[in-house]
């Protein structure tokens, strides 16, 4: 199989309204500036209003027309120069007017496929598709804007190709998820040697053998017309009710801080009688409020589903986002619980995915808030098999246990209390057949789970006080993201043994890990 030459690719264009959707902020800003200027100037008796009354009034409409022509001309050229193509196992993107860029991404390296729909794009029924690959910030390919149906069809096509399905799925929807290998599970045994066509067809109904004439011709145009046809069927796992999201946000540290801040401010203003104080601290207040507002709108109507192409997340109030994280792309998971979430036993699940980076936290959230059952259900989507007897008991121990009761976690020794008097009892790790569990935090409880095959590198560090006490901190290096797994202040001997054994386990787990193309059996 060879990648077709660039000439053979069918280049497609994005939707013509794209410049409007992308440029509306600039347009709004320009109108705002002009409007403000003319109001200011007219108050002083000059500027645009004055010009309109003079003999040269035609300059104003002429200038507007000229600017519009230039703007739309450039936008039209830019749109014409932007095109994308999907090859056998690559995605190509060409854009730029003066400085042309061409980007090729390998589909087997895809880390996530997101469809984003900002508020303005929603009015036109358009969305932007982002293909994330691991390569630092701005490494993905953003194809946008496309019509709703086109974007979903393209996502289906990309995922099918990334999964290693050589031919297209036929129009008949797949019977159920169970017919294909479950996400992130080890693929069926007996997968050695060349791919058995009959077996592959058994596993994935609707796959045509590459040898047949219909195969490898790309996706039939009629499939692109009908959204959702190419997509793997999905099973809904859970949804987050809006009421719970609101309450959880009110119980978060940011909300408490903002509330206390407001109360203190009101008291201060009343006692001193100087309203000016309120304006001087407005930015801080807006920051807190903005954070909560962003959390609310970003995580509103959060839905989690599972499909053969991985975990599907949908969320958002103003800007909606539909994420697909294929199997084996989650590098680390963390479950956290703030102090005030303890009563209802709520947890937040965040993940490290290589393409997302740590630039914006909203897309690295697997579950904004959920009960313990919800959180563990979501964790099991990432890691269906923990490789241990009674996984639930172990996870409970990781979520709320500490070293005061004996368990399967290896914790910090008692002498670590000098270095961390609050949470030394919570620090600890446990190793299962498939993952490393690290628990920490007493006020804000956290449990980090790192699948063995996703370990990037490991380290043990020791400061002077730790050396005196015979302690050491164990760190797992994961891809950039909200999860940074570590086990502080372990017994030095435990840390040394863990480092040695974990390096071994990571190696053997990598050797046994499923293929990058998750539907391929070889």
């Amino acid at each position: 199989m060879t990648t077709p030459a660039a000439e053979d690719l069918a280049w497609r264009r994005v939707h013509p309204i794209t410049p409007v959707v992308r440029g509306w902020t600039i347009l709004a800003a320009a109108l705002f500036v002009v409007g403000q200027q003319s109001i200011d100037d007219s108050a002083r008796g000059g500027g645009i209003v004055e010009l309109l009354r003079s003999d040269f009034w035609w300059i104003v409409p002429a200038a507007i027309v000229l600017v519009a022509l230039v703007g739309f001309g450039y936008a039209a050229v830019a749109w014409r120069m932007t095109s994308y193509a999907v090859g056998e196992d690559t995605v190509h993107m060409r854009k730029g007017v003066l400085f042309r860029t061409q980007r090729h991404a390998r589909l087997d390296r895809v880390q996530a496929v997101d469809i984003r729909q900002p508020l303005v794009a929603r009015l036109f029924g358009l969305c932007e598709l982002t293909l994330e690959v691991a390569g630092g910030s701005d490494s993905g390919i953003a194809i946008g804007f496309l019509r709703d149906g086109d974007a979903r069809a393209l996502r289906g096509e990309l995922l099918a190709r990334a999964a290693g399905l050589k031919a297209h799925r036929t129009g008949e929807p797949l019977p159920d998820v169970g017919a294909r290998p479950p996400a992130d599970a080890p693929l069926p045994a007996g997968a050695d040697g060349p791919v058995d066509t009959a077996q592959a067809a058994d596993h994935v109904p609707g796959v045509v053998h590459p040898g047949e004439p219909t195969a490898d011709q790309g996706f039939a145009p009629e499939l692109l017309e009908r959204p959702g046809l190419l997509e793997a069927p999905e099973q809904s796992v859970l949804t987050v009710p809006p009421a719970r999201l609101i309450v959880s946000l009110l119980r978060s540290g940011a909300a408490i801080f903002t509330f206390v801040f407001v109360v203190a401010l009101v008291v201060l203003v009343i006692t001193t009688g100087r309203i000016g104080i309120a304006f001087s601290v407005l930015p801080a207040l807006l920051g807190g409020g903005g954070y909560l507002f962003n959390r609310f709108t970003g995580e509103f109507d959060f839905r989690v589903a599972i499909s053969a192409d991985g975990i599907r997340l949908r969320h958002g109030l103003l800007e909606t986002r539909a994420q697909t994280i294929p199997p084996g792309r989650v590098q680390a998971v963390s479950l956290t619980q703030g102090l005030l979430w303890r009563g209802p036993d709520w947890w937040r699940v965040q993940v490290n995915v290589a393409g997302y980076g740590d630039k914006n936290e909203t897309n690295a959230v697997l579950l904004p808030v959920g009960t313990r059952e919800d959180a563990l259900a979501v964790l099991s989507l990432v890691l269906p098999e923990l490789g241990v007897d009674e996984p639930r008991a172990l996870l409970d121990e990781g979520l709320e246990g500490d070293s005061s009761s004996a368990g399967r976690f290896v914790g910090s020794p008692r002498r670590a209390r000098i270095l961390d008097p609050v949470s030394w009892r919570r620090h600890g790790f446990s190793v299962t057949g498939r993952a490393l569990l690290l628990r920490r935090g007493r006020l804000v409880r956290a449990l980090d789970v790192v699948p063995h095959e996703r370990t990037q590198s490991l380290a043990v560090t020791q400061g002077p006080w730790q050396r005196r006490l015979g302690l050491a901190t164990f760190t797992v290096h994961s891809t950039p993201g909200p999860v940074s797994p570590a086990a502080p202040h372990l017994d030095a001997a435990d840390a040394a043994r863990l480092l040695d054994e974990q390096a071994l386990r990571a190696r053997s787990a990598r050797a046994a890990a499923g293929p990058e193309r998750w539907m391929e059996t070889s």
């Binding site: 880390q111 990037q456 490991l458 560090t461 891809t479 950039p480 940074s484 480092l499 190696r507 990598r510």
Partner: protein
């Protein structure tokens, strides 16, 4: 008490002692300028400027004491499947980088390094947390290590 920084059956390779020079020369230059300026002012203007000279002098003395120990503590070991890097005197660390996780290898050498015959090899994984650099290698050893790491990385490459 077993130290986590001395794993059994690992033979450590040490970096070149010339790294001490490579690190002390820039420190001597940056600290030497305020030292000399302070001394000159102390002789010409007021003896109070000895305070200005004394501060960089103290830091320079500390650096001269610490750097040889730091360089001595630096070590690396190539195992079958991973590379171990050890460093630090006061704050110690031991990093294990599996060859299969390696994304790319950098070899760097500044003008002073080149004059002294030194090069730095840095390994990059998909994690930004991986601090895996080996400074102070002779260029031949750096090139050998780079090629060896690159070939091993390819042989064991398995996505992310």
């Amino acid at each position: 008490m077993t130290s986590p920084f001395e794993p059994p059956d690992v033979t450590w390779s040490r970096v070149s002692p010339r790294l001490v020079t490579a690190r002390l020369v820039p420190a001597a230059i940056t600290l030497g300028i305020p030292l000399l300026a302070g001394a000159a002012l102390a002789f010409t203007v007021s003896p109070w400027f000895w305070l200005l000279a004394g501060f960089p002098a103290a830091i320079l003395a500390l650096t001269a004491w610490v750097v040889p120990r730091q360089v001595h503590a630096l070590g690396y070991a190539e195992r079958d499947d991973d590379l171990l890097i050890r460093k630090g005197v006061l704050f110690r660390s031991l990093t294990v980088v599996p060859y299969g996780r390696m994304q790319y290898v950098d070899v760097e050498a500044g003008p002073l390094d080149r004059r002294l015959g030194l090069a730095k090899v840095q390994l990059h994984t998909a994690s930004v947390g991986t601090d895996a650099q080996i400074p102070g290698l002779p260029p031949d050893e750096a090139a050998r290590l780079r090629d060896r790491l690159a070939s091993r990385g390819e042989a064991r490459l398995a996505g992310l």
